[in-house]
Amino acid sequence: MVISKTRRKNILIAVLLIALAGAGVLWYLFTEKFGDTRKEKADYTMSAQNLIAEFKKSDSLANKKYAERMIEVTGIVTAVEPADTTVNIKMADSTGSYVIFAFQQQHLADARRVKAGDSLSVKGSCSGGAYSEILETEYITFKRCAISK
């Protein structure tokens, strides 16, 4: 079978386009960065107390449901803790079990203004929870957080 010159040219162009698209996808995957949490949609919106209660009931079930999900958590701040050069915000229940939020760089300034006793909503990626043998309490951690209100 003889392939015409035009056809050969078209095939070459198609192959090049596919290769370019592939390279584009790879480039995207390797250079992609997590977006600004403030612009992300929350998968769940709930109180810190309810979130803690759910993890205390069964952290394996709660981990399946909430880990790596974007959650907006509302509650009273019980502590603002220095974490190396940054700060974390913590909301604890009466037994000492807690949820703790580590912030995205661009939202750290907001977090630094927060004080214990403040009532606020924090949105971030839930990293899941575990029982701490050290503290003998349940703890839930968040990353890439932003204060939403």
């Binding site: 995957l29 390797f30 250079t31 992609e32 960065k33 997590f34 981990n63 880990a67 790596e68 803790e81 220095p82 974490a83 190396d84 940054t86 974390n88 913590k90 807690y98 703790i100 580590a102 990293s127 899941g128 929870g129 575990a130 701490s132 043998e133 050290i134 503290l135 703890y139 951690t141 968040f142 990353k143 890439r144």
Partner: protein, 181 residues
């Protein structure tokens, strides 16, 4: 009599504060597994639970694996996947150890002290004994500690194509920073 009671009470409370285990819920652990082929495998966990008992020199850490925050979503996915840390199955990493040169560290006097730490590090469900050097800084009531060491991923059964291809350092540097206020 009253004075004696007061002094006695102060002594007891002072002793109990000194003997008390110190804890933090905002310890930081970061690791750098970058190579010349790939600058992505590095991450930081700022919500590590840590404890220090100044009396016995006992040190402990607990870190939720999914708390390691990467810049790149794909790399974070790889890190947590079944092939690497398998964080669904092994959700935490822990360390339980001791300061082995406790006599060289004076927790009741401001200063910078070199510390030697030895203990059991559990990652990916595998426990290995490690030893490292660190620094302890005492400033009033605050105790800060830093340490950096290398973890051999082979020791912990962490494998994968990217690791074998040299894109991920097989001996990433791990840095730890904690402050007990």
């Amino acid at each position: 009599m009253k004075k004696t009671t007061l002094i006695f009470a102060l002594l007891i409370s002072g002793a109990s504060v000194f003997a008390q285990k110190r804890t933090t819920t905002s310890g930081t652990i970061s690791f750098d597994a970058t190579t010349s082929l790939d600058a992505l495998p590095r991450a930081e966990n700022k919500t590590v639970v840590a404890a220090l008992d100044p009396k016995t020199g006992g040190i402990a850490f607990e870190a939720i694996i999914k708390s390691f925050s990467f810049v790149n979503p794909m790399m974070q996915g790889h890190f947590n996947s079944v092939n690497w840390l398998d964080s669904d199955k092994f959700p935490t990493a822990t360390f339980k150890g001791k300061i082995t040169n406790l006599a060289a560290v004076n927790f009741s006097k401001d200063g910078t002290y070199p510390a030697e730490v030895s203990g059991d590090l559990t990652i990916h469900g595998v426990t290995k004994t490690i030893s490292t050097k660190g620094t302890i800084v005492v400033t009033g009531k605050m105790i800060s500690a830093t340490a950096a060491f290398v973890v051999k991923v082979d020791d912990y059964g962490i494998t994968g194509k990217a690791i074998e291809a040299g894109k991920v350092n097989k001996e990433p540097k791990v840095s730890v920073a904690v402050s007990f206020n």
